[in-house]
Each structure stands twice: as structure tokens, then as C-alpha cells.
């Protein structure tokens, strides 16, 4: 009995520690899930863009993104103080990645450039009062989020092509390529590069899909032309003669 009671006291402390930790983790996971869900909505909103309603769609997307920041990201701030930021990274990383994806996606559609980590982190600064450490996304989650961005860019490019916005599609193509190229140099230095390596493969596929789509339009643009360059020029001339009438 003596050992049992002697053991109980310290274990009560461990119980408390584990309970607190698990509850906190649970809260972080929930917040992360909300961030994920609502960031996905922002991404969908951006995809609703068409040639004519760009401004208005992007404005709504930005508003939604700001709401994600203020309502859901803010919940993470006080949970991730001190060492908890890295300790609970697994719990919040998926949400942050999705958030980065949404933010950079919006940013690209609006400005045509990559929203940098510093820019994103600056928008997070106002979330915390001065007594708390501000929540600052780490490089790893930013890069993981960027890797996912290419998938969305691919969808966007396909959408733009079917909408006839070829220039935009090509811009997307260049952008996705740039990101892929830059990431290849960074990936080997990442902490747990395993996750990232699979993402890189998917990324390359997305980039190639965009390229192939651009290629198809490019080639098909000329598909109308075979009539012009067909080996029966006479018939074509006859056709043209018609137009002169």
C-alpha cells in the first residue's frame, strides 16, 4: 500500500498534464478543421470567377478569407503559445496549410504574384493582444501549403482556358512552374521531407496538366488552320473566292 500511495501523488500530476495537453490538442484540431473547411470555401469562391465577374468574386473571396483569419485562425493564437507552437504542430498543420493555400490563391488571382510568408504573417499580427506571442506561420507549413496551391492553379487554368482566357492560363502556367522550380531547391532541406516529396510529385503532375492544356489549345488553335494549309489549296481558294462575292 505504501508504494501505491507514493506513486499516486506524482501520477496525479501526470494525469493533469496529459488531460490538459489532450484537451488543448483537441481544441487545436477543431480550430484547424474549421480553418480547413472555411479556407476550402474561399478557394471554391475563387474558382467561381469568370471573365466578367472577376472583381466581385475576388472581393467576396477576400472578405471570406478575412473572416477565416478573424474567426478561426484567431482561436489558434492563444493555444499555441511558447513550446506548444511546435509541440502541437501536427494538430494544426493541415489547417494552416489549407489557409496558406487559400491566401496565396486569392493573392495570385488578385495581383498575379505570390503572397509571401511575411505578408501572410503580417495579416495575422493584429489577431493577438500584446500580452500574447503572435501566431506566425512557420516556413514548413507555408511551403506545404504552396505545394497544394498548384492543384488549385491547375483547376483554375483549365477553367480559364474553357472561358477563353488563354493569356491568364499561360500566366498561371508560368507561375506554377516558378513555384515548382523554387520548391525543388528547398525541399531537401525541409524537416520531414517525406510528406513534401509526395506533394512534389503531385505538383509536377499538376504543372504538366496545365502545360498540356495550354499545349492543346495552342495546337488546336492551329487545328482550324489545316483548312488553310491543306494540300488542296485550290479548294480553299475557291472557298475564299466565295467570300469575295
Amino acid at each position: 500500500m505504501a508504494t501505491e500511495s507514493a506513486m499516486k501523488a506524482p501520477f496525479t500530476k501526470y494525469v493533469e498534464y496529459l488531460n490538459d495537453l489532450n484537451e488543448k490538442r483537441e481544441r487545436v484540431v477543431k480550430a484547424s478543421r474549421d480553418v480547413t473547411m472555411n479556407s476550402k470555401k474561399v478557394i471554391f469562391q475563387v474558382h467561381r470567377m469568370s471573365k466578367y465577374n472577376k472583381e466581385e468574386v475576388l472581393q467576396k473571396a477576400e472578405k471570406d478569407l478575412a473572416a477565416v483569419t478573424n474567426q478561426y485562425m484567431s482561436r489558434l493564437v492563444k493555444e499555441l503559445q511558447g513550446t506548444d507552437f511546435w509541440k502541437l504542430r501536427r494538430a494544426y498543420s493541415p489547417g494552416i496549410q489549407e489557409y496558406v493555400e487559400a491566401a496565396t490563391f486569392c493573392g495570385f488571382c488578385k495581383n498575379g504574384t505570390l503572397l509571401t510568408l511575411d505578408e501572410i504573417n503580417n495579416t495575422l499580427l493584429p489577431l493577438s493582444d500584446p500580452s500574447l506571442q503572435p501566431l506566425q506561420i512557420n516556413i514548413l507549413d507555408y511551403l506545404l501549403g504552396l505545394a497544394d496551391l498548384t492543384g488549385e492553379l491547375m483547376r483554375l487554368a483549365i477553367g480559364r482556358i474553357s472561358d477563353g482566357e488563354l493569356e491568364f492560363a499561360q500566366k498561371i502556367c508560368r507561375f506554377a512552374r516558378d513555384i515548382y522550380r523554387e520548391l525543388t531547391l528547398v525541399v531537401p532541406h525541409m524537416d520531414d521531407s517525406h510528406d513534401m516529396k509526395t506533394k512534389m510529385e503531385i505538383m509536377l503532375q499538376s504543372v504538366m496538366k496545365i502545360e498540356n492544356a495550354c499545349f492543346s489549345v495552342h495546337v488546336r488553335g492551329s487545328e482550324y488552320i489545316p483548312l488553310l494549309g491543306s494540300d488542296d489549296p485550290g479548294s480553299f481558294l475557291v472557298g475564299v473566292a466565295d467570300i469575295e462575292l
Partner: protein, 299 residues
């Protein structure tokens, strides 16, 4: 002649489509057209300029590499910064791993000394030898704390690098402590032994608990060998300790993680010790090495 007209309509459609929907035609038109009879048709001339406007764009986009889009520069700058930051943390990790591998070899020496316990060597002597490594460990953990001193709050970023080694250290420390005192080394005591404090470089509670589970894995073997060597009171003591330990662990609300798995394993240690205790008891073997009852029957 009849079939030509629809073909032409297509061509015409293509032409209008191109202009109105700004679908980019192939830049090759520019190359191929002059050689085609089409060239002679002045009426189509104006459209060429439209084509060429779009096609140059296609060249830039499709070809890509011959033009440097303005966004590349800032992009590159950010990624260069990332790379150097990540390289830095890579170097840090390298340093951590070097220290951890030294921790590991010190732990191995400790473990090797402690293994003699199964060969019934006098415990104080081998404990002395094992303890000599604690100083080394203390020094190494101090080095780890120093390495991490430069990046506050990042203990858990690199935690994985010393996690399992630290768990082994804890298991040995608690085993030694139990051999000496028969009681469980507390988390705080373990931290003190290693010269750690939670304000800079602490001992993670989960690592401590997992270490204790590892220590429990060692007990069945210990009991078996002690009994073989004639210590018939050992199973009772171990059983008591392990039962209490198991009861204490049951207080924890565990998640489905490694600690949970280790805790689930503990009941097998407990069962094994119970079996040994039963075997000894049923045969009436007494603590002083003399079987109770009729020795003749046993022989």
C-alpha cells in the same frame, strides 16, 4: 464543289471565333501562311496583325523560358531566404544528432552494466558502474540545452531527434532506482538526475512515462533470473511494485498513441510476473531459499 462550302464556313468560323473569343491561334500561322496561296488574299491581311499580337503572347507563355516574368525575382528572393533558414536548422539538427548519438552510446554502456543483474552479480557493484555514466549523460543533455538555447520555444521542433534515446535513458534510470530503493523514480527526480529543468530543456512527461513502460518490460526477465538464482522473495516484491505501477498508469487518460500501446503491453509483464510468483508459491519456495514442506518430494 458542294462539300467545300461547309469547310469554308468552318474556316470562317474559326477566324471569327479567334477574334471574338481571343482564342490564340497557332503562331505557326505566321510561318506557314506566306507559303500558302492564302497570302495573295489581301482581304485577310488585317487579321494577320491581330494574329501576330496574340501569337507573340503565346510564344512568351508557351515557350516560357525566353521571357522572365517580373514575379520571378521576388519569388526567388523569398525562396533563397527559406533555403538559408532551412539549411541553418539542418545544421542545428546535425549538431543535435551528434550529441544524441553520444547519449545513445553512454546509455548502451549503462545498459550493458545493468544486464549483469540477470547473472546475479552483486547489485551495488554493477549499479556503481552504471551510475558512472549518469555524469556523462548529464554533460550531454547540457550540450543539447545549449544548442537549443539559441532557438527558444523550438524544443518540440527537434524533439523527435532525442525522443527515443531519452526514453531509454529514463527506463534505465528508473530501473536502477528501483533496484536501489524498490520505488518508482518520479518525473521530477529523473529530471534532476539528468540535470534538466523544464524552463529551458526539460524531460517531456510522455517520454518519462514511456521510459517507465520500457522499464516494466525488463522486470519479468529479472524475476525469472532472480528466482533461478534462488531469490524466492523477488517475485512478491516485483509483483507488488508492478501491480501498483499498473494501477497508477490506469489513472491516465491516454490517447491512441505510442504511450497507450506501451501501457497495453504492461499487462503482459504483469501476467508473466504473476506466473512466476505462482510457480514459486505453489511449490512452497520460501524467501530464505529453503522450500517449505517436504524437500524430498521436490527432489
Amino acid at each position: 464543289m458542294q462539300f467545300i462550302k461547309p469547310a469554308f464556313r468552318n474556316a470562317c468560323y474559326c477566324y471569327y471565333y479567334t477574334i471574338t473569343r481571343s482564342l490564340n491561334p497557332n503562331p505557326f500561322i505566321l510561318v506557314s501562311l506566306p507559303t500558302s496561296p492564302f497570302l495573295t488574299l489581301q482581304s485577310f491581311r488585317p487579321s494577320f496583325s491581330t494574329f501576330s499580337f496574340f501569337s507573340s503572347d503565346v510564344m512568351a507563355g508557351g515557350g516560357g523560358d525566353n521571357s522572365v516574368p517580373p514575379l520571378s525575382h521576388s519569388l526567388e528572393k523569398q525562396f533563397d531566404a527559406f533555403r538559408s533558414q532551412l539549411e541553418e536548422s539542418g545544421t542545428l539538427r546535425e549538431r543535435i544528432r551528434n550529441v544524441v548519438s553520444e547519449i545513445e552510446s553512454a546509455t548502451r554502456l549503462m545498459y550493458a552494466s545493468l544486464l549483469l543483474v540477470h547473472q546475479s552479480r552483486p547489485t551495488p557493484e554493477l549499479l556503481e558502474k552504471a551510475k558512472s555514466q549518469i555524469g556523462v549523460l548529464k554533460e550531454k543533455y547540457k550540450q543539447l540545452a545549449e544548442i537549443l538555447g539559441g532557438c527558444p520555444g523550438q524544443y518540440y521542433r527537434y524533439h523527435g531527434d532525442w525522443r527515443s534515446e531519452t526514453q531509454s535513458v529514463v527506463s534505465l534510470l528508473t530501473f536502477m532506482h528501483w533496484l536501489e530503493t524498490g520505488s518508482l523514480l518520479e518525473h521530477k527526480e529523473a529530471e534532476e538526475k539528468l540535470g534538466l529543468n523544464s524552463s529551458e530543456f526539460g524531460l517531456d512527461v510522455e517520454d518519462y512515462l514511456i521510459g517507465v513502460c520500457f522499464m516494466s518490460n525488463e522486470l519479468p526477465r529479472y524475476v525469472v533470473n532472480q528466482v533461478t538464482a534462488g531469490d524466492y522473495d523477488c517475485p512478491r516484491k516485483v509483483l507488488k511494485f508492478l501491480t501498483d505501477l499498473h494501477a497508477a498508469f490506469r489513472m491516465l487518460n491516454l490517447r491512441n498513441d505510442f504511450l497507450r500501446k506501451k501501457f497495453d503491453g504492461m499487462k503482459y509483464d504483469l501476467r508473466r510476473v504473476e506466473e512466476v510468483y505462482y510457480d514459486v508459491k505453489i511449490r512452497g519456495l520460501t524467501p530464505n531459499g529453503e522450500p517449505v514442506g517436504n524437500q524430498g518430494v521436490e527432489a
